[in-house]
């Protein structure tokens, strides 16, 4: 990284040229001075001081420290972002009563789906929190999490922009006043990745494949239907989230192609964890873990016999969907097969 002196003597244009990610950093600074590209950092800091640092709420020393810290973090971040998480491992801990969990080691590989079953309050959130915090036998369950079979570095815990788990649940809504495309562009710019425009179009396309009703890039995100919102959230998380693990808390069975949704996530090499009590979704998973009293009670591999049932279940589900569509269209819903 450039020394403090070099940073101070460079003008804004130069700094953004060397470190393109600084655009975001300067955007978040108070006042208008940081927008003047011909000024050197030194000049800006002097002006900020002169115009009264207490009014600007600006501390030049702190600013330079934080600038250097930001550059350091971003450089490290771009270095490791290519390093993928191939497998996540849980080593056993204990349940709420202190009984040891009985599995040896539980692996979650990329592009696979694991379903999680167990009543509300059984310990699903705790399991998720253990993963997110990359527990090292230092949480109430005493579980240990390994990343790529190794003890993970602490930056999984503390580094901003480097979180293991992305979450999707039915309670989540869009709250920003933006169109679909603007929204995705904003997300892409916060990730500072190359080829953002192309990814944005891919996401819109994929989300439309999932949603029953089509929408365009110009649609305001807050006016999307439930199914469309979920479809966009899934496609966006699959293609634009930095987190290698995606936790889904049920996918509603309306207005969205759930099978395709899971395929998009696994296709983008995500490790998918899915809390569900829907047999179709559970059988789409490669394995399921049963949670009881705060502990992982059993790990069940989806058997061939179970997989065989999937086709029949999907057929029944399709029939139900067809009836639903007919009902919505105001048609008669008589079906001889029932």
């Amino acid at each position: 990284m450039a020394s403090k002196e070099v940073l101070l003597m460079s003008n804004m244009l130069k700094l953004k040229e060397i470190y393109p990610f600084l655009e975001t950093f300067f955007d978040q600074q108070p006042g208008e001075l940081f927008k003047q590209e011909d000024l050197t950092l030194q000049q800006i800091l002097l002006e900020m001081e002169e115009s009264g640092s207490e009014d600007n709420v600006f501390d030049a020393t702190l600013f330079v420290d934080q600038l250097q810290e930001f550059i350091q973090q971003m450089e490290a971040f771009t270095g490791v972002s290519s390093q993928s998480v191939d497998v996540l491992t849980i080593l056993p801990g204990k349940d709420k009563s202190g009984n040891a969990e009985t599995f040896d080691a539980l692996h979650f590989r990329k592009s696979t789906i694991t379903s999680i079953v167990g009543p509300t309050g059984s310990g699903k959130s705790r399991l998720l929190a253990d993963i997110e915090w990359v527990a090292q036998a230092d949480t109430p369950t005493a579980r240990t999490i390994l990343v790529n079979n190794e003890k993970p570095t602490v930056d999984w815990r503390f580094a901003s922009g480097k979180k293991l788990v992305a979450q999707l649940s039915q309670n989540m809504n869009f709250v920003m006043d933006l169109s679909v495309r603007e929204f995705l562009e904003l997300h892409a710019s916060s990730r500072m990745i190359a080829g953002a425009a192309e990814i944005v179009e891919r996401i819109i396309h994929a989300a439309n494949e999932l949603a029953g009703e089509k929408f365009s890039g110009e649609t305001p995100i807050t006016s999307l239907s439930g199914g469309q919102s979920r479809a966009l959230m899934i496609a966006d998380t699959a293609m634009l989230s930095s987190s290698p693990v995606v936790l889904i808390d049920e996918i509603e069975n309306a207005g969205i192609d759930r099978k395709k949704a899971l395929q998009i996530l696994t296709g983008e090499e995500k490790i998918v964890l899915m809390a569900t009590h829907d047999p179709i979704l559970a059988l789409m998973a490669d394995q399921r873990i049963v949670i009881k009293n705060g502990g992982i009670h059993r790990v069940v591999q989806t058997s061939a016999a179970e997989k065989n049932m999937l086709e029949g279940l999907e057929e029944a589900d399709r029939k139900l969907q067809t009836l639903r569509t007919k009902l919505r269209a105001g048609e008669s819903i008589v079906d001889q097969s029932f």
């Binding site: 978040q28 309670n171 989540m172």
Partner: protein, 231 residues
């Protein structure tokens, strides 16, 4: 005794985060006390009492809550020492976003929520820029993308802070926060000689002293005018 200062915009979830975190701290046998600074009204002291946490509350009334905080925190620390707490949590609402309630050497936590809008991090001054830990709440009701964008903005405003996501309703993430709060090596027995991290918002004009009439001739002291000239 350890002291930590928690602040953040109104209704961002400060009390919920502290109460959920306190559960984990209590399990470790850490004796906790709290003080709540607010402006006109608070019921949060009742919530602390319900959770079995000894609490004092202070209402600043017509004064800037920040100024009220700094004029009283020393006495509150003395109260905490007399009560023999291991950890005293000071909670104060940041009302004008220019707030600057943090003290050098004293752990500072800022609580802000995902619903406040992605331009909010930039609008908040020292309360966010100088915090050691930033807790982001209400992540359970917005999309993953919005959470990521919001966290990225917070990071650009304060790259040195640890950023954590906590669900104030379920407590998810609160255990993790609790592991960062108590430090047996950071004990204090007084705030004498310590300094604020940044100066507080200032004002000393006729309106501070109760003036209610509008007009140039009633404006005295520290008065500033809006710039209405054409650019």
């Amino acid at each position: 005794m350890n002291l930590i200062t928690v602040s953040g915009p109104p209704s961002s979830g400060k009390t919920a985060v502290i109460l959920k975190t306190a559960e984990s701290l209590k399990k470790r046998g850490i004796k906790l006390g709290a003080v709540k600074f607010d402006c006109l009204h608070t019921d949060d002291d009742v919530a602390y009492e319900k959770a079995g946490i000894p609490v004092k509350k202070g209402l600043s009334g017509q004064l800037c809550p920040d100024h009220y905080f700094v004029s009283n925190i020393e006495a509150v620390v003395e109260w905490g020492l007399a009560e023999d707490f291991d950890l005293l949590v000071s909670e104060s609402a940041g009302l004008c976003n220019r707030c600057s309630p943090y003290i050098k050497e004293i752990k500072a936590i800022c609580v802000i929520d995902n619903l406040s809008g992605i331009n909010t991090p930039k609008k908040i001054g020292p309360m966010l820029r100088m915090a050691d830990i930033v807790v982001i709440t209400k992540g359970d009701i917005v999309s993953q993308a919005e959470r990521e964008v919001f966290a990225a903005r917070v990071h650009a405003v304060n790259p040195s802070a640890i950023v954590m996501h906590i669900n104030g309703l379920t407590g998810q993430g609160a255990y993790e926060l609790s592991t960062l709060l108590f430090d047996s090596g950071k004990k204090i027995d007084s705030l004498k000689g310590m300094k604020l991290r940044f100066s507080m918002p200032s004002a000393l004009c006729s309106y501070c002293l109760g003036e209610t009439r509008i007009g140039e001739s009633y404006q005295m002291g520290n008065v500033r005018k809006i710039n209405l000239e054409k650019k």
